[in-house]
């Protein structure tokens, strides 16, 4: 089926209808979440009790809005902190990996490349428990040998950051390597001919060229970290990031407060995605 080859009307109509239905299916859950953030009721369900901003700005019980709900605000802060750390680490390691696989040829490179891809095909929950098991072993070992308590290796934010980094680094590597692949190396050679040292050439020519991919990788890493659930669930300590905090509340029963948080999340991530697309266009 292709537009240049005529098809029976009914068939094209049915096909279009199918595609439209698909997009309704995609949009429906998100629209519902957004709409019920404004329902003036204790439950995010019908009947519709009237429009309210209360779940955003409400200050008194029973309607406490997002902006006055301390635990949720703190969880957002925790998530943002984790996401920034994960993004910085991932972009740094991703950049180094991209150069390694693009510029060097060494024995075992192919195998190393496959290993680098592996985190993508390991279930997130398995990544989480393996890191949990290993870090506890080191922490217990350190305690047994030297009575040295390494707080960072117990479930908590450090482990959450490492756990998320362990697979997000693969994605940032792929994003940056894809752009480095397209780089015209004669530009770098020109810089060398003009008297630049190798590092100066990379810093002034190659890195600016890679900037859009690095920003893209940063945003993708930030969003993936912010949304991550499986790996985080296994490694989390007392400071819960937003997804875990929301999950705990959802298990107890939900109020439209969660809808309001979700709507803010949607707005935030769409904004970030738009920023990224804008940067990609310029690059």
């Amino acid at each position: 089926m292709i537009p240049t080859i005529p098809q029976p009307r009914l068939l094209t109509a049915a096909y279009t209808a199918y595609v439209v239905t698909f997009f309704v299916f995609l949009a429906l859950p998100l629209v519902v979440v957004a709409v019920f953030a404004f329902n003036d009721s204790q439950f995010p369900s019908l009947p519709w009790e009237g429009f309210t901003w209360g779940w955003f700005f409400g200050e008194e019980r029973p309607v406490i809005g997002v902006f006055h709900e301390r635990p949720i605000l703190r969880a957002i802060g925790t998530s943002a902190f984790v996401a920034v750390c994960v993004s910085i680490l991932s972009v740094g390691v991703g950049l180094s990996n991209a150069f390694l696989f693009n510029r060097y040829r060494f024995p075992g490179q192919g195998i190393l490349y496959v290993f680098m891809l592996l985190p993508l095909v390991i279930p997130g929950i398995v990544l989480g428990i393996s890191i949990l098991v290993f870090s506890s072993r080191i922490a217990n070992g350190a305690w047994d040998i030297a009575e040295w308590d390494i707080e960072a290796l117990r479930p908590g934010l450090t482990l959450v950051i490492l756990g998320q980094f362990s697979f997000i680094a693969t994605i940032s590597t792929l994003v940056i390597a894809a752009r480095l692949q397209k780089f015209d190396r004669s530009l770098e050679e020109a810089a060398l001919n003009l008297g630049a040292s190798r590092l100066t050439a990379v810093r002034t020519v190659t890195l600016p060229y890679l900037a859009p991919a690095m920003i893209g990788a940063f945003v993708v890493a930030f969003l993936m970290s912010f949304e991550n659930f499986n790996t985080t669930l296994m490694l989390v300590g007392s400071d819960a990031p937003l997804t875990i905090a929301m999950f705990d509340r959802l298990k107890e029963g939900s109020t439209p407060l969660l809808n309001a948080v979700s709507l803010l999340l949607m707005l935030g991530s769409s904004l970030l995605a738009l920023v990224m697309i804008a940067f990609q266009r310029r690059g």
Binding site: Y18, F23, L26, L117, L250
Partner: protein
């Protein structure tokens, strides 16, 4: 120059090796070692396959494992069947701006946390939810209908959650198929079905394989969707891992479960690559 290149290589190799060894390879070996441990006293362990024997002799564990595998495969198949026509429409039927707009529209829901998406389905499907109310209003049901907490709800959630990872590779491979080739198929007397079967699908195979691998893996390892949308009887294997680790604190058995899940997902991924003659580098990289 030679020495400089060597130093550069070592400097770039260090972060990669640290990352892969400390966060991926050694933790997984360690997890396997823990799974082979059996507790015989306080702080005393010995090596034995006891945890794996527990898994094999306890029907609940075995059944949950098989159920999770089968439902993840089914979810992958359904996702493929739903996504293929849509991807084909985006790649081959839509033109210019419409195409990029539709593609972007496919991506939007996935910028939002999985938790939010699952929450959306809970609002839609629950007893007091939108669909139930709509059915009553239309006169198709005379009392609230509970559509949450069963396997069908899990399936809807899984398919919805993994849709993006099927659509993107499919659109990418289908876009690389020139329109002229499809037209030539019709000129040579092909029908819709034969053109699809002999030209489009063979060309799209790499996309189908990579989409299926990712979707299967995500469904198998999903925790949130089965927990929130599934009922008391619809246990998912990841829930068993979680309960052994966090609730019962039986890390040995939990590690064995984790290793089995890893084994299953690796086997299926390897099998799919083998069956279609692709490599991991080409499919993922």
């Amino acid at each position: 120059m030679k020495a400089e290149a060597r130093i550069g290589l070592i400097l770039l190799l260090t972060p990669l090796l640290l990352w892969l060894s400390l966060l991926i390879v050694i933790p997984h070996i360690d997890m396997f070692l823990v799974s082979l441990r059996e507790r015989v006293g306080v702080g005393e362990y010995r090596i034995s396959p006891a945890n794996y024997l527990t898994f094999l002799t306890e029907p609940l564990y075995l059944r949950t494992f098989a159920r999770t595998a089968i439902m993840a495969m089914l979810a992958t198949l359904i996702t493929l069947l739903i996504a293929f026509p849509v991807s084909y429409y985006i790649a081959k039927m839509a033109r210019g701006r419409t195409r990029s707009a539709l593609f972007l529209l496919c991506l939007v829901p996935f910028w939002v946390s999985e938790l939010v998406r699952t929450f959306g389905w809970m609002i839609l499907l629950r007893e007091t939810g939108l669909i139930s109310t709509l059915l009553q209003w239309a006169g198709l049901a005379d009392q609230p209908v509970e559509m949450l907490y069963n396997d069908a709800a899990i399936m809807v959630g899984l398919v919805y959650t993994s849709m993006l990872f099927m659509v993107v590779p499919l659109v990418t491979t289908l876009e690389s198929l020139p329109d002229e080739v499809i037209e030539a198929g019709y000129d040579l007397g092909g029908t819709n079905v034969s053109v699809m079967r002999e030209i489009v699908i063979p060309h799209a195979t790499p996309g189908i394989v990579s989409g299926c691998i990712v979707v299967f893996m995500l469904s198998l390892g999903n925790y949130l969707t089965p927990t929130m949308l599934g009922g008391k009887d619809s246990l998912w294997f990841t829930e068993l891992i979680y309960s052994q680790f966090i609730v019962r604190f039986n890390w040995e058995l939990g590690a064995a479960f984790g290793f089995l899940l890893l084994l299953l997902s690796s086997l299926i991924v390897w099998g799919m690559l083998r069956l279609t003659g692709h490599t991991l580098e080409r499919t993922m990289g």
